[in-house]
Every structure is written in structure tokens, then in C-alpha cells.
């Protein structure tokens, strides 16, 4: 089963409820990589995690993804075709 990284964020009042965190942590196929007052960074299969999040109140979930460093400089997209006569 392939695992990817996801972020779970608690949208309720205050920090993440201990009981919810315990439920997530108790699932053997879910690895908690990092936790903060409002979020968990986890590794899991997406379907399994989605089902778990759906069973909890006030949580949202998103895949971890990266934002690139902004850059407006021109760049080369491909080299010249030297086979041209």
C-alpha cells in the first residue's frame, strides 16, 4: 500500500483534542511525522486517512505539497537543434 504525506488541521476551538490525536496515532498504518497545536503531519494511504478524518469532527485534510521560490528571470526551455542545416 503506497503512503504519502498529508496534513490534518483542526478547525475547532483551541488546540487539537487529545482524543482525536490518540485516535489518529492508534492506527498502525498512519505514521505521525510531526505535530503542532493545530496540525498533524502524517504518512498514510489516502483512502484510509480520508475515512479517519471523515469520522472526526472539525478536521480538514490536504496532501503535503511544495511551493516554488518565485523567480521572474527569463530561462532557456530547450537547447538549439544542432541537426538543423
Amino acid at each position: 500500500m503506497s503512503r504519502s504525506r498529508f496534513i490534518l488541521r483542526y478547525r475547532g476551538r483551541g488546540p487539537t483534542p487529545d482524543a482525536d490525536v490518540a485516535r489518529v496515532s492508534a492506527v498502525a498504518e498512519v505514521v505521525v511525522v510531526e505535530s503542532t497545536a493545530k496540525m498533524l503531519l502524517v504518512e498514510s494511504a489516502p483512502a484510509l486517512l480520508q475515512a479517519l478524518v471523515d469520522s472526526l469532527d472539525d478536521w480538514v485534510m490536504a496532501p503535503e505539497h511544495a511551493f516554488p521560490l518565485p523567480d521572474v528571470r527569463r530561462r532557456v526551455e530547450r537547447p538549439p537543434d544542432v541537426s538543423d542545416p
Binding site: R9, M39, V60, P68, L69, R74, R75, P79
Partner: protein, 497 residues
């Protein structure tokens, strides 16, 4: 015959979610949405004693979002009168089609054995070699065909262009620091060709100094600004109060420069540099308390949504008033959306760059209704005519024809403000450089916001959504349109006293 007024449809909804329910929703938001529920079909709505030509067409329940129709020119007025609500244009989605794959493998294989050309980049004055400059030589500008490389300690760069002498349609040089960029069109290069760069004069009136002048060191005092970026380097022009590194697996105390070009250091200098020409530069609000939140990993050009959301949460806890986010792109995600919404509900404003995709729609997360989205303006005459930034000049031009909306800037109805973002001189880990982007416009607006808020009643309010709304109102009242139109500049350029 009466002139027909063009109207457009929008969805009017709370800053977070679809309904005005729960924590962080102001009384003003709930009251307005409930009153609008009773106004379906009427031709106008009273908002804060102003008659607005807005028709309510549909609704998701009394506390829910409303589908409304109003003249496009009234959009800014509604957003200004109801800062706690989002006004999102109705969009229609079409199936996405996959782009055609580019096959370049064969050409790349042939290039490995092709002859190269070595050119040299020197300072125009003194003829000192310029090391670390990116040289981009395009033989076909439209299709971005060519070669690029970085100059070595002798100022030399080897370009694999297939022949020993070649016609270049456009040559660009981007120095690491200390010099202006360069663009040359239609030239022949061979080994031994020398390119000269003009030295950067820190006393130059760039677009930032043209619009905001040189601030007293006390300007912005009482305001705390967090910069979410690549970290802020130790620099004689900068004073960093503290911060955090929120990259998973890295030292949380390492919030200095991440070793990848100094983007965050440049951004920080635009907000709060405290130097003085000819050896340093001055930011828009040098009196602010400046904090660094490093979200880009060490020696990396990418930042995860987790690191960014975590930095926002931490900056709110650290009682930052304004967060500068010169980053974005890609698809929206609910976690980062929640973090920006939560910050706004906790009295902290996220000021976010619209993106540099060339007149494309405003990027995520700047597109969020809870964010302040910033496009980029430039001004002719504030950089050399030989600089690469000449290609950023494009219509529309302002009422003052020297002002232009930068060609790279993303635009749309979500733009709140514009700021100077073309060839802006600021701090880098190795010195100073002129850089361009909505990344540079964003901190200019953050600095202007700090100027507007320093000593204001908005800043003294309890830290909640109403405080954020008051800060937005205080900021927007200082904005003056430059003449581009709301899609390009929102309310215009903030020009606080």
C-alpha cells in the same frame, strides 16, 4: 436612450466557510447576510448608510453565501464597506486538457558533443570580473531556445549553442548582486565576447524610493511584521527581532538565510532595512519589529504547505500584526486556507503576492478572501534602459504614463492593492541587488501597511477578526488608484502619511 450598465455575478460569503457560523464570525457579517436574505430581487442594498446597486439573486440559507449581481465598478466599494466578507466572481469550469509533451531528448543528445562559446562578463567601470551572474542566451525568444550558465570567478561562462559564432535574439545577464541586470538584443557572440554591467548605485531612485521616499528610522514603530520566506540573513542594514524555522526536521532556531539566493533577505529589506546610501538602503517602515519565519528548506527552492501553515500559526502566537508572504502558486488546499483564515480571525493580516505568471489569475493563497492580495507596478526611468526589466514594461499605463503594471504580474478581481515591484534595490546576504516580482511589491505594501497602522486605533483593538477588518479598512483608506483599473491594482497604491 439610457446607457446600459454592465453587471457581473459574484458570490458574497464570509471570510471563512460558506456560512456565518461559529468562531471568528463578526456580528457585522452575520447581520448583513441575514438582512440580504430578505432582499432577493430588489435593485439596491443599503450598506453602512451607502446605497449599493447590488441585486441578491440566490442564497444558501439565512446565514449562508449569497449569489449577487452588481456593476463591476461597485465591487471595490462593496469590498471596502464589508471587509469581513469575501466577494468572489462566479466562475465556470471547463475540462482540463493535457499539454503536449515536448520532445527535446534528441536535441539534448546532439548538444553534448556540440562546440561551445565562452563569453566574459565584466563591470563596465573598472573591468572587474563579475562572478555568479546567470547568463541566458536565446537564439529563438518565442520558443525559449538557447543556452544558459553561471559566470565563474573570472567572469566567464561557457554556452553550448551548437556553433562557434551565433546570432542571439536576446541575451540576458542577471548578476548575483552589486550590478544592474542587462538585456541585449540581436547580437552575434563568439568566444571572447565581453559583456559589461553597470554598477548598482544604492542612492538611485528606484520605484520603491520614488513612491515611498526615504523613511525616518522610527516609521512603523509599534507594528510587528513577520516575513515567511527563505529566512533573513545577518546584514548591516537589518535588525531581526526573532523568528522560527518551521521546516520539518530542521533546527527551529535556524531562521537565517537558507542559502538559496536570499529572497527572504531582499523582501525583509524592502519592509524594514535601516541602512543609508551610499553603503546601505532604507525600507518602507524601518521602525517595525521584524521577525523571520523560514519556510523554505535549507538550500532548497521549495516550501511545503505544512511549513507555511505552521509558520502562520507561530507568527500569530508571536503577536505579529502583519505577515508578508511573497510566495504562492499551484492549487488551493484547505489546510493553508484554514491557516490564513485563522490568522485573520485572530487579528493578524496575511499580505500575499498575486504571482508572476504574466497576467494570469491571482495565485493561491493570495486569491483567498481573507488575504490582502498585491500586484506589481513599475516606473519607467527608475532602472537603466539597458536592464532586463525593460521587458516588464507593458500596458496598462497609469494616469502618469511613466507608471505601468508589470508584465509578469498576475491580476484579477481579487487584487486588493498594488506596490512597486520592478527593479527594487534591497538587501541580500552578500550585499545588495535589484530584483523584480510581485515578491517585491508585496513587502512594499506590507511596509506601507505598517506605516498606516503605526499608532492607529485599529492596532489597539483586541486580537480578533474585527481587528483585522479594522486594519484592512485603515490600510485601504490610504490607497490611491494609479489609473490601471481595479482588476490590475485593486484599490491602488497605499500611500500613508
Amino acid at each position: 436612450m439610457a446607457k446600459r450598465i454592465e453587471t457581473e455575478q459574484y458570490v458574497l460569503l464570509p471570510a471563512g466557510g460558506l456560512r456565518a457560523k461559529g468562531r471568528g464570525v463578526s456580528v457585522e457579517t452575520r447581520t448583513f447576510l441575514r438582512s440580504a436574505e430578505t432582499l432577493r430581487g430588489t435593485e439596491g442594498v443599503m450598506i453602512d448608510a451607502h446605497q449599493v446597486p447590488m441585486r441578491v439573486l440566490d442564497s444558501i440559507g439565512p446565514d449562508g453565501a449569497k449569489l449577487v449581481e452588481l456593476p463591476a465598478q461597485s465591487m471595490l466599494a462593496v469590498r471596502s464597506l464589508l471587509p469581513s466578507l469575501r466577494l468572489v466572481p462566479v466562475r465556470y469550469y471547463t475540462p482540463a486538457t493535457a499539454p503536449l509533451m515536448q520532445v527535446a531528448t534528441q536535441a539534448a543528445r546532439a548538444m553534448a558533443a556540440a562546440p561551445t562559446i565562452t563569453i566574459k562578463v565584466l563591470a563596465k567601470t573598472g573591468k572587474k570580473p563579475v562572478a555568479g551572474a546567470i547568463v541566458v542566451a536565446l537564439t529563438d525568444v518565442e520558443n525559449r531556445v538557447g543556452a544558459q550558465g553561471v559566470t565563474d570567478s573570472e567572469g566567464e561562462v561557457e554556452l553550448t549553442l551548437g556553433t562557434a559564432s551565433v546570432e542571439i535574439q536576446a541575451l540576458y545577464v542577471y548578476p548575483a548582486d552589486a550590478y544592474w541586470t542587462l538585456r541585449k538584443k540581436n547580437l552575434t557572440i563568439t568566444t571572447g565576447t565581453v559583456i559589461n554591467l553597470l554598477s548598482l548605485d544604492l542612492g538611485s531612485t528606484d520605484a520603491l524610493r520614488f513612491f515611498y521616499g526615504s523613511a525616518e528610522l522610527t516609521i512603523g514603530q509599534g507594528v510587528t511584521v513577520g516575513v515567511l520566506d527563505t529566512g533573513i540573513a545577518d546584514h548591516p542594514d537589518l535588525v531581526v527581532d526573532g523568528g522560527a524555522n518551521t521546516v520539518t526536521g530542521e533546527d527551529p532556531k535556524d531562521f537565517g538565510d537558507n542559502g538559496k539566493g536570499g529572497h527572504g533577505t531582499h523582501v525583509a529589506g524592502i519592509v524594514a532595512a535601516r541602512g543609508e546610501a551610499p553603503t546601505g538602503v532604507r525600507g518602507v517602515a524601518p521602525g517595525v519589529k521584524l521577525r523571520s519565519y523560514r519556510v523554505f528548506a535549507r538550500n532548497s527552492g521549495s516550501a511545503s504547505n505544512f511549513a507555511i501553515a505552521k509558520a502562520i500559526d507561530q507568527a500569530v502566537l508571536d503577536r505579529c500584526d502583519l505577515l508578508n508572504m511573497s510566495l504562492g502558486g499551484g492549487s488551493a488546499d484547505p489546510v493553508l486556507t484554514a491557516a490564513v483564515d485563522d490568522a485573520r480571525a485572530a487579528g493578524t493580516l496575511c499580505i500575499i503576492a498575486t504571482g508572476n505568471d504574466g497576467r494570469q489569475p491571482v495565485s493561491f493563497p493570495a486569491v483567498l478572501g481573507s488575504a490582502v492580495a498585491v500586484s506589481a507596478v513599475g516606473r519607467k526611468g527608475t532602472f537603466p534602459a539597458s536592464a532586463a526589466e525593460v521587458e516588464d514594461i507593458a500596458s496598462p499605463y497609469g494616469t502618469d504614463k511613466k507608471n505601468f503594471l508589470a508584465s509578469f504580474s498576475n491580476i484579477g478581481p481579487e487584487v486588493d492593492l498594488t506596490g512597486p515591484g520592478v527593479a527594487i534595490i534591497s538587501t541580500l546576504p552578500t550585499g545588495h541587488a535589484a530584483l523584480s516580482g510581485t515578491s517585491m511589491a508585496c513587502p512594499a505594501v506590507t511596509g506601507a501597511a505598517a506605516r498606516a497602522l503605526a499608532g492607529s486605533t485599529a492596532l489597539k483593538k483586541k486580537r480578533d477578526g474585527a481587528r483585522s477588518d479594522a486594519m484592512v479598512k485603515a490600510l485601504l483608506t490610504t490607497a490611491a488608484p494609479l489609473g490601471f483599473g481595479p482588476t490590475f491594482e485593486g484599490h491602488g497604491l497605499p500611500m500613508p502619511e
